[in-house]
């Protein structure tokens, strides 16, 4: 029971935060809404029994990446954005696209049996050890390739910053 209550409270927070992110005019307010979304997602992960992923979500996304976002916004002292009317293409293509996506989602969900049972904590890949077993045994190659990819991104960032310095 408490699972359902927590789920719906934090799902509401996540959706509300996402809408607020778009509705706010000031970049800081938008960034803070994004933090709310990420925090609520962390709680949802925890309800799924994925405590490690939840903690990493808070530490990496809400704690590190979003701090950098806020930092940059503060550093540039970005003011409130100006609203334009928005492009017509977005309205003409966006609304049907969104409806189609929604319909597809509902269709898939109704066609498949969705597991409705409560997840026992620790029964699935929740603890760090279970995740590590998966990462370093069956998924070792994708994991290592991803880390090389991240390294390339870091090197690219360094290169871009270096050009500015000259």
């Amino acid at each position: 029971m408490i699972h359902y209550i927590l789920f719906f409270i934090f799902a509401a927070f996540a959706v509300g935060g996402a809408i607020n992110l778009l509705a706010q005019r000031h970049p800081i307010a938008s960034a803070l809404s994004l933090i709310v979304v990420m925090g609520s997602l962390a709680v949802e992960y925890m309800l799924l029994g994925a405590e490690f992923v939840a903690a990493i979500q808070v530490i990496v996304y809400a704690g590190a990446i979003m701090v950098l976002f806020v930092f940059v916004i503060m550093l540039l002292n970005a003011g409130a954005e100006e609203r334009t009317k928005g492009s017509k293409v977005a309205v003409i293509l966006g609304v049907p696209g969104m409806l189609a996506g929604l319909a597809l989602g509902v269709f898939v969900l109704t066609q498949h049996d969705v597991a409705n049972t409560q997840v026992a904590v620790g029964a699935m890949y929740g603890p760090a050890k279970a995740i590590a077993e998966q990462l370093f045994k069956p998924f070792l190659l994708p994991f290592e390739i991803t880390s090389v990819l991240v390294l390339i991104a870091i090197m690219g960032a360094v290169l871009l910053a270096y050009k500015e310095l000259d």
Binding site: I56, V58, G63, L68, V70, F71, M74, V121
Partner: protein
């Protein structure tokens, strides 16, 4: 996730009552500790600088924290014009709440049996305890960042920019320095980490992680912890010679006091964590009757925490402040490579041994 596992065993009602009692005690102790750490710091820094420190209120100035608290309450609470009001009011609350929350997962002693109810001396023992503390610390940046930004003052903004950059940078070194400890103990639970450090070699040298070869990690952790709590020699965010008071320049009365309390609560948390991770937590010689056996571990633990707080004050009384580029260079060019090397060496040793 909670590892007590005795929720069903005890019944929900007992569990709730027990938790409320624990939370009340922990909060009262923590707040008292925060208040008296301030006094301790003023006294000790006074002695280091060859003066008395506070000595007027009560015997040896022992009631000074009480007087300070009263003063904060009765000061005029100014909200400057042109501040971003919602964020200006939220920032100190955020800082203090997050600083006080992390005490929830910190264990202070072994198990205690009272009236047939067996319970750990800890509010809750979760198997990702260390990660929760790291998460809470990383969220603590927002309190400072938003305080500076919402104040709409150049000094505050500069202070909070410095704080955010510094805290993100040192968090990397802090997190990496803990990995050696995690490899040795094989668990994120703070209770398990302490248990893995019990015992001694040849009955003399305790099996603390510090003596298991984590000296480098300990040094990195200490530096990073000082930077994370914005203490001398890394107190650039509130460098009074350059920035008036940094991120809390525009705050007065209890709102300022909340930042102040948050800083000292963070100091206590960091000191607790250092004792748990590197100095064997509450492990120590046990003797005497049962009641003494319960409280001796807490005493040993308190002794270690006191040592770290003493070290904090000592460093503050001794070292000058870094320059900002030195501060950033120190973490990225010294601490980060050192912590990576420590991880490689530690994992190599553990792998060769197994």
């Amino acid at each position: 996730m909670a590892r007590d596992g005795n929720t069903t065993l005890l019944g929900v009602k007992t569990f709730v009552i027990l938790s409320v009692i624990k939370i009340a005690i922990a909060l009262a102790v923590l707040l008292t500790l925060v208040a008296y750490t301030v006094l301790f710091e003023r006294k000790l820094v006074g002695r280091i600088q060859n003066r008395w420190g506070p000595s007027r209120v009560g015997p040896f100035g022992l009631l000074q924290p009480l007087a300070d608290g009263m003063k904060f309450f009765f000061k005029e609470d100014i909200t400057p014009p042109y501040v971003n009001k919602p964020l200006y009011l939220t920032a100190p609350m955020l800082s203090l709440t997050l600083a006080l929350t992390s005490i929830a997962v910190i264990p202070i002693g072994g198990w205690v049996t009272v009236d047939g109810i067996r319970t750990p001396l800890q509010i809750t023992d979760v198997n990702i305890g260390l990660l929760i503390i790291l998460g809470i610390t990383s969220m603590g940046v927002y309190g400072i960042a938003l305080a500076g930004w919402s104040s709409n003052s150049k000094y505050s903004l500069l202070g909070s920019l410095r704080a955010s950059a510094q805290m993100i940078s040192y968090e990397v070194a802090l997190g990496l320095s803990l990995i050696g400890v995690l490899i040795l103990s094989g668990s994120f639970s703070l209770r398990d980490i302490v248990t893995s450090q019990s015992g001694a070699w040849w009955g003399v040298i305790p099996k603390w992680n510090l003596f298991k070869g984590q000296f480098v990690a300990f040094f990195i952790y200490l530096c990073a912890a000082y930077a994370e709590t914005n203490r001398v020699p890394f107190d650039l965010p509130e460098a009074e010679t350059e920035l008036v008071a940094g991120y809390h320049t525009e705050y007065s009365s209890m709102k300022f006091a909340m930042f102040f309390m948050a800083e000292y609560a963070n100091m206590v948390t960091v000191a607790c964590l250092a004792s748990l991770l590197f100095l064997g937590g509450w492990n120590g010689p046990l003797f005497g009757p049962q009641i003494l056996q319960y409280f001796l571990p807490v005493f040993w633990f308190a002794l270690r925490v006191f040592f770290f707080i003493f070290l904090y004050v000592w460093v503050r009384g001794t070292l000058p402040r870094f320059r900002y580029d030195q501060l950033m260079g120190f973490t990225w060019k010294v601490l980060l490579p050192l912590s990576l090397a420590n991880i490689i060496v530690t994992s190599l040793v553990v792998a060769l041994r197994s």
